[in-house]
Amino acid sequence: MGLLEHRLDENVLTTRIDWLINWARLSSIWPMTFGLACCAIEMMAVGAAHHDMDRFGAGAFRATPRQADLMIVAGTVNFKMAERVKRLYEQMPSPKYVIAMGACATGGGPYYKYGYNVVKGVDRVVPVDVYVAGCPPRPEALLEGLMKLQDKIRRSAVLRKPGLPEGALFVPAPS
């Protein structure tokens, strides 16, 4: 999409094409097989029978970053691991999305104060689209994070000139 991206004014044609492309993207978010810590267990639960992420077309876990659209950073990011996370993110072809799952990935979590080895939030390494709170989050929370991501994709501009930049979205922890 390189040549046309963000070059065209808004009219019926571009909005419809944008709608189609966005629909395709949000309907088939292939996540990367990638788990760091205890949150990964909950992520697996989202893929498994009870919650079934595949209902939204997001169940095709790809082992290689080249074919993935979504990186779910599920767990504590060590400094040692951060390099790898960044490399994997850079290996993904755009458009690519990141969900920071759980307290550790969002902001260091319980390791915030004394965890000398923990990155205080994966957004210091890669740009994050959706933060999901919880320690670890319930599978439902990750599902809502996925839907928030779908909302975000739905509103993004592909051929149109982009509007205001959108901030990251946030799934609050259940009170």
Binding site: M1, L20, I21, W23, A24, R25, S27, S28, T33, A48, A49, D52, D54, R55, F56, G57, G59, A60, R62, A63, T64, R66, Q67, D69, P93, S94, P95, V158
Partner: protein, 393 residues
């Protein structure tokens, strides 16, 4: 442009058989070109046009892509239900539009070529793989009068063309400049070389029985009121030959439990690790096209082709062998082939992947001798037992 070489290559591959087999009767594509053209085109030119321009695109657009999309949706749905899930359901009714969404997404996704990759081969490999899939598809007859090219060497041609896929896979694995890709490619080469032997030998059993390589003629020979004319029931050696063929074809099409070339727990994604977007979808397309082609061979050569006990003879009796019969034949044949495809999916979601040495052991120590025994047995049966019943080839 990764898309450009595919049709060119497919045209070359397809051109050769069509030039010969088109014969004076022409085929699907040439007929279409002749009908659409305002001026009369001389026949040889027509065949060339049909071969060079039409077939590749036509097959790709009208047959392979929709079929592969449906099969991918079915794969996810079948997998879901086997795992007590639901599978895609939000994208369109029953998630039917899932594959379309996937395809559009892959089309507009960034197309990466790794810095260390061999650019030329990296771009050429998926095209080669896709072209061989198209060429394989071209030799499959769908009904007595619906086919692209009725080769008198049909099944032999398909087996030969499927070896081009291997070359494409090795090319992909080598040019990616990635060890896992190379490992996957070499595993693919090893397993294909070893499984081509039992595949070919077990296919020789129905060839021996029918006396022809042509898939269409073999299917025509199996028509009849009951299912008794099916080669599967002809003698006690065809059923094991069918099972051997099916097992070997699983390895040929890189399906579980033989999907070592893309084992994600060991090799990231095998030979297509570095492929993204459209090029990756070419490999996907090829896999599903190959699944359909081997299932079609199984259906046509072992399971009676488009004959179904009671149904097709009835239709023939009522309406003759017109287009109604052909339509029913397409339906019956597709149902059989798609059932075999479904069994492939069923096996994939049920069986664990086996190790590469187990794959080799199975191929060389068990499948090859067994298929040889089947071939010998079938030959002996035709020679000594069939004359007892007064039959004859």
């Amino acid at each position: 442009m990764g898309l450009l070489p595919a049709p060119l290559l497919a045209a070359t591959l397809l051109g050769a058989p069509l030039l010969v087999a088109g014969g004076q009767q022409g085929n699907f594509v040439t007929d279409l070109v002749a009908k659409l053209s305002p001026v009369e085109i001389p026949w040889p030119l027509l065949v060339l046009i049909g071969a060079l321009l039409g077939s590749g695109f036509f097959l790709l657009l009208v047959f392979i892509t929709p079929y592969a999309m449906l099969a991918i949706w079915a794969e996810r749905k079948v997998g879901g239900h086997i795992q007590c899930r639901i599978g895609p359901k939000r994208v369109g009714p029953f998630g039917l539009l899932q594959s379309i969404a996937d395809a559009i997404k892959l089309l507009v996704k960034e197309d990466t070529i790794p810095a260390g990759a061999d650019k030329l081969l990296f771009v050429f490999a998926p095209a080669l793989v896709l072209a061989s899939a198209i060429a394989m598809f071209a030799a499959v007859p769908f009904a007595p009068d619906v086919w692209f090219t009725d080769l008198n060497l049909g099944v032999f041609f398909i087996v030969a063309i499927s070896s081009l896929t291997t070359i494409g896979v090795i090319m992909a694995g080598w040019s990616s400049a990635n060890k896992w890709s190379l490992y996957g490619a070499m595993r693919m080469a090893a397993s294909v070389i070893s499984y081509e032997v039992p595949l070919g030998i077990s296919l020789l059993v129905p060839v021996l029985v029918s006396g022809t390589f042509s898939l269409r003629e073999a299917a025509l020979a199996q028509e009849g009121w009951g299912g008794a004319a099916w080669y599967l029931f002809r003698d006690p050696f065809v059923l094991p030959a069918f099972l051997l063929f099916y097992t070997a074809s699983l390895a040929e099409t890189k399906r579980a439990p033989f999907d070592l070339p893309e084992a994600e727990s060991e090799l990231v994604a095998g030979f297509h690790t570095e492929y993204s977007g459209m090029r990756f979808s070419f490999f996907f397309l090829e896999e599903y096209a190959a699944m359909f082609v081997v299932s079609a061979i199984g259906a046509l050569y072992f399971l009676g082709g488009w004959a179904f006990p009671g149904l097709t003879p009835l239709v023939e009796h009522l309406f003759g062998r017109g287009w109604i019969f052909n339509a029913v034949a397409i339906g019956v044949f597709s149902a059989k082939a798609l059932f075999l495809v479904f069994v492939m999916m069923w096996l994939r979601w049920t069986l664990p992947r086996i190790r590469i040495d187990q794959v080799m052991t199975l191929g060389y120590k068990y499948l090859t001798p067994l298929s040889l025994a089947c071939l010998l047995g079938a030959a002996a049966w035709e020679l000594y037992v069939v004359p007892l019943f007064g039959g004859g080839g």
